[in-house]
């Protein structure tokens, strides 16, 4: 079985890619995709520690992963709803164009 | 050749084949043999199904159906397959090459994966996962992506419209599909399909079989499951994605040649997988309906029921017109979903009332469960029934 550090390094690379995705891309949906990747990296860690950890029978790791998956799905749903509402208002999803906080700002 | 040996003929054949091979390769190769067996039988069944469909539809419409290629049109599937192979595989110029190519593969792959858990006969289930039902739904979750890839990649108005309709329909019908299986899982207490099939074995002494479909909640669950399965496979009254009269062939409009045949095969395999699951969950998997019919081999029962369900699919396709997109959605969310939840309650009432020892217990249990199912059904469809109904016409 591959030793634990390999798993952790894999999940941290995945986390870094997700973080890069959030910071580098302009499109709001890409930010959400980046967040998804980061959440999945965290799940990977949970399972790795559950597998190599001591109390494997207690299935704490898997429980964490199940709840994390459910909440991540909920978060994505709300995030995308926000993006769609933003698009209807501003006709754009570019993150750095949606910077005006005043409500009455005309869509540029 | 005793009945048991016929029953296990395929299992023994596989063991014999495996014994010839070297020890180390054995686990890997047994999986390969299983895969080959599934692919072989279901590809053949797909070919036979296209012929049965066209002849069945023909006979329903008082005509012959294909009878030119080979005796009684038996070689028609071969001719169709050959035609599909040599047909030019057109790639529209504005299409997205890679995704256009991957779409049929994703679709067929995800449908084929779902066959890994279906028990085709006594200990003939390829893998006995203890989360079999969950695996089945997880595997067929990727079909929506395949439909989307096909619709979006060909970049034509009709295919996009068809893909959107297809995905919306598949997602809204996946919920009633999953919820109607919960009743069975709750009663058997296990997700493994083999165990569910075992629970429905006819008891040695009694004549009456113990299929779940003989119980009120089982019958309702079976009907809900089949309605959702018909919609999931885009067939008969729900074949909206390729609504011929409106948007030609939906997401498959820009495909030709073998890729179109793959889509076609994907649809049929999806239909077989869904009816395979329905057979295992409600119709007693590979068991005979009644004890005295037990002599026939188990795999015979599975495939007999599969062909019976295929006949029902063809029958529906020959008779019923298509629902409109919004009616389809309303039907799924406002009728099918609540009904599957009510079915769960009925299953619960049924299993807990098993302990009644009063004389008329059987009838009361049936009446209560049936009433528990029929009243909400009528109540839920009251709005629709008020608006739609036969009319009386006056004469001038």
């Amino acid at each position: 079985m591959t030793p634990l550090p390999y798993w952790l390094i894999l999940s941290s690379i995945l986390f870094a890619i997700g973080l890069a995705g959030c910071l580098v891309r302009r499109n709001a949906i890409m930010v959400l995709i980046g967040i998804e990747l980061m959440l999945n990296a965290a799940n990977l860690n949970f399972i790795a520690f559950w597998r190599y950890g001591s109390g494997a029978e207690a299935a704490h790791g898997i429980m964490f992963v199940l709840f994390a998956i459910a909440i991540a799905a909920a978060e994505t749903a709300v995030g995308l709803a926000l993006v769609i509402a933003l698009y209807r208002l501003r006709r754009t999803v570019q993150v750095d164009e949606a910077d005006a906080l005043k409500a009455d700002d005309k869509p540029r | 050749m005793t009945a048991a040996s016929i029953d296990q003929v395929f299992v023994n054949a596989k063991q014999a084949l495996l014994s010839l091979l070297p020890e180390t390769l054995r686990p890997g190769l047994s999986m390969a043999i299983n895969a080959a067996a599934i692919l072989g039988t279901f590809a053949l069944l797909f070919a036979v199904a296209t012929l049965l469909e066209r002849k069945g539809l023909g006979r329903i419409q008082n005509r012959y159906g294909p009878n030119r290629v080979g005796p009684f049109g038996v070689l028609q599937p071969v001719a169709d397959g050959l035609k599909m192979l040599i047909k030019e595989d057109i790639l529209p110029r504005q299409a997205d090459r890679v995704v256009h190519f991957l779409a049929p593969i994703a679709l067929v792959l995800s449908v084929l994966l779902a066959y890994a858990v279906l028990p085709f006969g006594r200990n003939m289930a390829p893998i006995d996962l203890d989360a079999g039902v969950l695996y089945f739904f997880a595997a067929s979750a990727a079909t929506e992506l395949g439909v989307f890839m096909a619709g979006w990649a060909s970049r034509s108005k009709y295919s996009l419209l068809g893909a959107m309709r297809g995905i919306a329909q598949m997602i809204s019908y996946e919920l009633p599909l999953v919820l109607s299986t919960l009743g069975v899982i709750m009663v058997t207490g296990s997700l493994s399909l083999v165990e569910i099939a075992e629970r429905q074995a006819p008891p040695a002494g009694a004549i009456l079989g113990r299929w779940f479909v003989f119980t009120p909640w089982g019958l309702a669950g079976f009907l809900l499951f089949m309605t959702a399965a018909v919609a999931e496979a885009n067939r008969a009254p729900f074949d909206l994605p390729e609504g011929e009269s409106e948007i030609i062939a939906g997401h498959m409009v820009e495909y030709s040649g073998f890729k179109y045949a793959l889509f076609f095969m994907g649809e049929y395999l999806g239909m077989f997988a869904a009816s395979g699951l329905a057979i295992t969950l409600f119709l007693g998997g590979y068991h005979a309906p009644f004890a005295f019919l037990g002599w026939a081999p188990s795999w015979f029962w599975f495939f007999a029921k599969l062909l019976a369900l295929l006949a029902v699919f063809i029958w529906l396709r020959g008779t019923l017109p298509r629902l409109r997109q919004d009616q389809l959605m309303n039907f799924a969310w406002k009728w099918l979903l609540p009904m599957s939840l009510v079915n769960l309650v009925a299953a619960g009432v049924w299993s807990y009332s098993a302990a009644w020892t009063l004389p008329g217990a059987g009838f009361v249990r049936w009446a209560s469960c049936a009433g528990l199912l029929i009243l909400p059904a009528l109540w839920l469809s009251r709005g629709w029934r008020a608006r739609v109904g036969p009319r009386v016409y006056r004469y001038a």
Partner: protein
Amino acid sequence: MSAAPPSAPLPAGAAIDRDLLEISLGPHHPSTHGVFRMDVVLDGERVVRLKPVFGYLHRNHEKLAEGMTYLSSMPFTDRLDYFCSMTNNWAYALAVEKLAGLQVPDRAQYIRVIVGELTRLLNHACLIGFLTHDMGAMGTPLMYAFREREKILDLFESLSGSRMMCNYMRFGGCRVDLSPAWLQAARKVVDDFPRFLDEFDALLTTNEIVMTRSQGVGILPRELAINASVTGPMLRASGVDYDLRKVDRYGIYDRFDFRVPLGEHGDVYDRIMIRFLEMRESLTILRQALREIPPGPILDPKSKLRGFRPRAGEVYGRIEAPKGELGFYLVSDGSPNPYRYRVRPPSLINLTILEDMCLGQLVADAVIILGSVDIVLGEVDR
């Protein structure tokens, strides 16, 4: 829910900013009953604008008729509404008889009623078949309708020589007399038809999916129907009591008692049911006609085959064709060729209000509404 409030119709040429989808359904489209195109602008799946485009099957029928004798353009009337060639012939013959003042003998009148009502049967049966095919019932009702249509077409073939292009009526009567064997075969067809109708009824009218798909869809209000001079089953489905067989009493329709069914909602379901009930009424007319048909001549002795020069003047003859009021307006200047020859096609005029019925409905409904209007492109384009 089904009669969703139609969104505001788009003014022509408005800047399409609400990212609408422009689709052209046809001319090469599986459900437009021939070469007919609808330019549809969709907001999502809802029809926002619909422009019918036709003329793909225009064969210059009216200008041709001005160059030929009256008799020569009779076979061309078969090609107008190629589903009901007998009623086309009858309308043209009626107009010319009114112009030339010919008296049609009784037996010819009975023959005309019999073949006219047989045509109405096959037209309504085929229409319902095509309509349910558009709804998605993979051709099963259509095949049953065609099976019955073949029986009637065999009758026409043994009578006039050709199944669909009968060219059977002449000015002042008919060309061939009915043989007793033909009458016997016709009575058998008329006696078997109710069994088919009951089967068709059971298959379609109470079918929940057909009802859900067609009730409340494509509503045609009374005023719009009357203003747009819609005629035929579509008009009666909107509740207007106007049937030329009762209004004009042309031919010998006053000798038969039959009823005219009326709808109240004017939606697609009403149009289907009106055609069903009209088929049953046609059956009663046919039974009476087949029972009372007298012997006698089938052609007015004064009618001349060649060198036929009607008096100068103009005339408008019309009949209740299965699709509506089919009229012929003839202007004659005494020469063997008509000076002006005009056909009033019911399909074209029923088609003008297609957009009003389709606004706000979904694409799937637009196809069904077009199907319920019952158009045949031969008549629309002439």
